[in-house]
Symmetry: C2
Subunit: 261 residues, 2 copies
């Protein structure tokens, strides 16, 4: 049975890419809810509704483990998905929080993400659960996702936007910056130059967690051939393929459009 | 019976504002489909589906005329809505096209809008139907909507973004620029300074068309008291009120959240 991965759009492909790198033999189904992207500016209730519908679709295709490859959805719907569905559910917030805790020396962590992720306080909760003495500050950067989707990955506009958003973080003493949105690794270089502190990219940590969970449950695929990858989107496939291949770093084939709910 | 107005979000409030100015006594229902905004980056099929669902909701409340206050939806779904529903349907594309034709001396018109509006070629079709000798060029500006919704209405980022998008229009001899998106009047000043040619704002023309259509059908409200305004959104109301009041220029009260479809 495949691993199921969903995101609001193309961002989760940075997570799928890392899962593929660490577990090339696994079959993976990826669902990008492109008809309803972005999630980051919507209310928690709406994001939960969409996340449940996405999971129902993946469950109907038969999956052995679910990866919520979207920080916004992980922030507000993870507990509900864990309660509601009978498979292991892994989000991107906890693995990123763990890596941040391991990295910070000054016990000050900064997090950037969408409006809904930052408002949810999910990173602060996850980090403080591991080490209550760490200070966490968050900044919402709503323009990063549209800029990245437009392909403006470097140059004046994205640099000025980053400077504007990251200004409050430059003086608060944080020594670790969590990229709390799966789109942001696409502009890692710009963020790093502006923020001047080490970045945490959850994709790598999340993939490790997937491997650990499958190993513990004795569910790793016992076959050395490359797994089959299949993609589903809720809006036109061409745009997803065009933008997505930049995130994924591989060609996207085997893609279908579906309707939700 | 009220006039029904819908848009994907807050943009159509610039149209409603103008209808209110010209026809203060009319009752108006406004629906902002904020759970599924933006429409401009979605496929035509998805935009048609959402537009039909929006109209069904407004029809269920009883309306005498429908205003599609969204350029993307007007561009791809107007004919379908006219066929499907038994009330007069007015979009924002034709009124804007008419004003552009009246304004151009050099017979060269430029249009800016969302990706789906520009790809649809709707303005070109509407302008050429009025005067086949006019040349029309279009440029999609996908970042304007998120910039405006973020409230970055002036300053370096929006100016640089406008310069980047409008660059091709500066050398093609157009003497008239149509704002083919109801959000864009919010950054009129920036666009005007960069483009250096007169702008057409469809809101005023669309409101005139509403008055004409209601007058011709003898459906104008015969009462000198101010009409009742009611708002519906498909996601959280607070954000709509916060952003929307800037577009609307009035307070937004009497608002409810609904679910679609």
């Amino acid at each position: 049975m495949p691993i199921g991965v969903f995101d609001s759009g193309v961002g989760g492909l940075t997570v799928m890419r890392e899962i593929m790198r660490q577990l090339p033999e696994e079959n993976i189904l990826y669902l990008g809810d492109t008809a309803r992207v972005p999630y980051g500016t919507r209310s928690p209730e709406t994001v939960v509704k969409y996340s449940v519908e996405n999971t129902e679709f993946l469950m109907s295709r038969g999956i052995k483990l679910l990866v919520v490859a979207c920080n916004t959805s992980s922030s507000v719907s993870l507990d509900i998905l864990k309660d509601k569905f009978p498979v292991p559910v892994i989000g991107v917030v906890e693995p990123g929080a763990r890596a941040a805790v391991a990295n910070t020396r000054l016990k000050k962590v900064a997090v950037i993400g969408t409006e809904t992720t930052i408002k949810s306080g999910s990173y602060e909760k996850a980090i403080k659960a591991l080490d209550g003495s760490i200070k966490v500050s968050g900044v919402a950067c709503p323009l990063f996702v549209p800029l990245i989707e437009e392909g403006w990955l470097e140059g004046e506009v994205v640099t000025l936007t980053a400077e504007k958003y990251l200004e409050p973080l430059k003086h608060n003493g944080a020594d670790t910056l969590v990229l709390g949105c799966t789109h942001y690794p696409m502009i890692k270089g710009v963020i790093e130059r502006v923020a001047k502190i080490p970045l945490i990219d959850s994709a790598i940590e999340t993939a490790k967690e997937v491997r650990r969970a499958l190993g513990a449950a004795d569910m790793l695929r016992q076959d050395s051939t490359d797994g089959v990858k299949e993609f589903f989107v809720t809006d036109a496939t061409e745009k997803f393929v065009r933008t997505g291949e930049r995130f994924f770093g591989h060609r996207i084939i085997n893609i279908s459009k579906i309707s939700l709910p």
